[in-house]
């Protein structure tokens, strides 16, 4: 069966640098944006399964503090995405 891909301008797949700890924990460290700029994640304040109505999808949602602002970072089926503001 062909895989159907969804082209949604509000769903931005991003490159993420992350650490996989020995106890199985996964902590995203920084996000590399479309323009190759790298944003350091200062703190992850919440992790839960959540749907993104805006970007269309569901996955593990990491609430990340970046430059003093909260951003949702989703891990869905092995790929990371953020919602376009």
């Amino acid at each position: 069966m062909d895989t159907i891909t969804y082209d949604n301008p509000s769903k931005i797949y991003v490159t993420v640098k992350a650490i996989f700890y020995a106890d199985g924990l996964l902590r995203p460290m920084s996000i590399i944006w479309e323009d190759d700029r790298e944003y350091t994640i200062d703190k992850v304040t919440d992790i839960r399964r959540a749907a993104s109505l805006k970007a269309g999808g569901t996955g593990l949602r990491y609430t990340c503090r970046i430059n003093g602002k909260d951003t949702y970072l989703f891990l869905e089926e092995g790929r990371w995405f953020v919602e376009r503001k």
């Binding site: 069966m1 895989t3 159907i4 969804y6 949604n8 509000s10 839960r48 399964r49 959540a50 749907a51 993104s52 109505l53 805006k54 970007a55 269309g56 999808g57 569901t58 089926e77």
Partner: protein, 414 residues
């Protein structure tokens, strides 16, 4: 309780395609081939009168600006799995009914999570928050009313049907709302002036049975809330519904001996396949077609689930002897194990049958499996089958369809 994901395929598509959320949407099969039908639709499409099963052009007549999208089954499967993970948080008694529906029995977990209504509402909230789709939940003391309840208020609602209110809530509904009342049954019921579920409940069960057969009585019990079937525990139900083999023999079967040989071959194959898949069956079904192509079947239950060829063959043969009077010779035979359970499910030993003999038999058949796997199907065979040397060509398990040329040659078996 029964949970029903609203407009399942369409809801998932709308979540993944924000641009179509405010438009009438239908998920349709293979549009390019021009024979696509509507598999699911959202509420905007529903409002225009589009029905599931309609052809795309019919749907477009009703709704010219209909957005048609192709189905994405891998995604629906993933969502279905995620929904089941949410159910599994509350109970291990989750019985799926298709991808988008499931029964849950939370009787054992109310002391942890609160009462049934609280759990139902929490499940709905989690569906919305975590999966981005909505569910309707029906809460009741039996599966039939729970399912009925989940259909009453949509989307994203909990409906409670209690022993106190069911006569007001359920009985005025049309008979066709009841599970298993299809078009044909609805018509028959209407013929006898039975239009609502209340009418079914008030009818004489003996009368219903005489008109609708066994189902008449079942529907009467459903309508009165007497259904007490349990919600199956996760892992006990299986996706494969039955395993069977059948064979059309080159010459018609004339005697019990012919039939016994055939049943042995078929049962061995079915039993081996059951073991291979890790199942046991609770029921064996025998299918007979006589030389005038008249087809019928009969089935019988085992006292306990089995995957042994001897059990299958003995039961099948006993039933055959009881049911068939040799008014005609037989053209084809089939043996099928149904009502499957997983073989590793814990089982109740019986005081009344020889367990050590059963274990011996089980070991024997597993050994036969291994021998055949290593040295080929013909390495070991039943003596009864050796009455015909040409039988050595038969391997129903791998061939699936078998046509032993010499097997039933005139006079060979007599």
């Amino acid at each position: 309780m029964h949970s029903d994901l609203n407009n399942y395929y369409a809801s998932v598509e709308c979540l993944y395609r924000p641009e179509i959320r405010d438009k009438p949407v239908a998920v349709c099969g293979s549009q390019e081939a021009r024979h696509g039908i509507v598999l699911a639709k959202n509420y905007l499409a529903k409002a225009t009168g589009i029905q599931t099963g309609e052809v795309i052009w019919q749907a477009r007549l009703k709704c010219p600006n209909l957005v048609v999208v192709p189905p994405n089954y891998p995604l629906y499967l993933r969502y279905s799995r995620l929904a089941r993970e949410i159910y599994a948080y509350y109970t291990d008694q989750v019985e799926p009914f298709g991808l988008d529906e499931a029964w849950l029995d939370v009787t054992g977990s109310t002391h942890i999570f609160g009462d049934r209504i609280k759990i139902a509402n929490e499940i709905r909230k989690r569906m919305k928050d975590e999966l981005g789709i909505t569910a309707s939940v029906g809460v009741s003391w039996n599966k039939i009313f729970a399912k009925l309840g989940s259909d009453l208020k949509k989307p994203d609602a909990t409906t409670v049907i209690t022993r106190e209110n069911y006569k007001q809530v359920v009985w005025p509904l049309p008979a066709s709302d009841l599970l298993y009342v299809g078009r044909a049954t609805k018509r028959k019921l209407a013929y006898y002036g039975i239009g609502t579920i209340g009418d079914i409940a008030a009818a004489d069960p003996i009368f219903l049975k005489s008109r609708l057969g066994k189902w008449g009585e079942v529907l009467w019990a459903f309508a009165n809330g007497y259904d007490n079937s349990p919600v199956i525990r996760m892992g006990e139900e299986s996706i494969i519904k039955s395993i069977g083999n059948s064979i059309t023999t080159p010459r018609d079967l004339e005697s019990d001996e012919d039939v016994w040989m055939t049943i042995c071959i078929l049962s061995e194959s079915v039993a081996a396949r059951l073991r291979e898949q890790g199942f046991k069956c609770r029921t064996v079904h025998v299918h007979v077609r006589d030389k005038d192509l008249f087809t019928f079947g009969f089935q019988g239950k085992f006292p306990k689930p089995t995957n042994l060829s001897n059990n299958l063959a003995d039961k099948a043969m006993t039933m055959f002897r009881e049911q068939y009077n040799w008014s005609n010779s037989i053209r084809s035979l089939g043996v099928r194990g149904c009502d499957l359970v997983t073989a590793d499910a814990s089982e109740q030993l019986s005081l009344f049958c020889d367990e050590s003999r059963r274990i011996k038999q089980e070991n024997l058949e597993t050994t036969v499996d291994t021998l055949r796997q290593r040295f080929g199907h013909l390495a070991i065979q039943r003596a009864v089958l050796l009455q015909d040397s040409d039988l050595s060509t038969i391997n129903p398990k791998e061939d699936h369809v078998i046509h032993p040329v010499a097997f039933f040659k005139e006079g060979r078996l007599t």
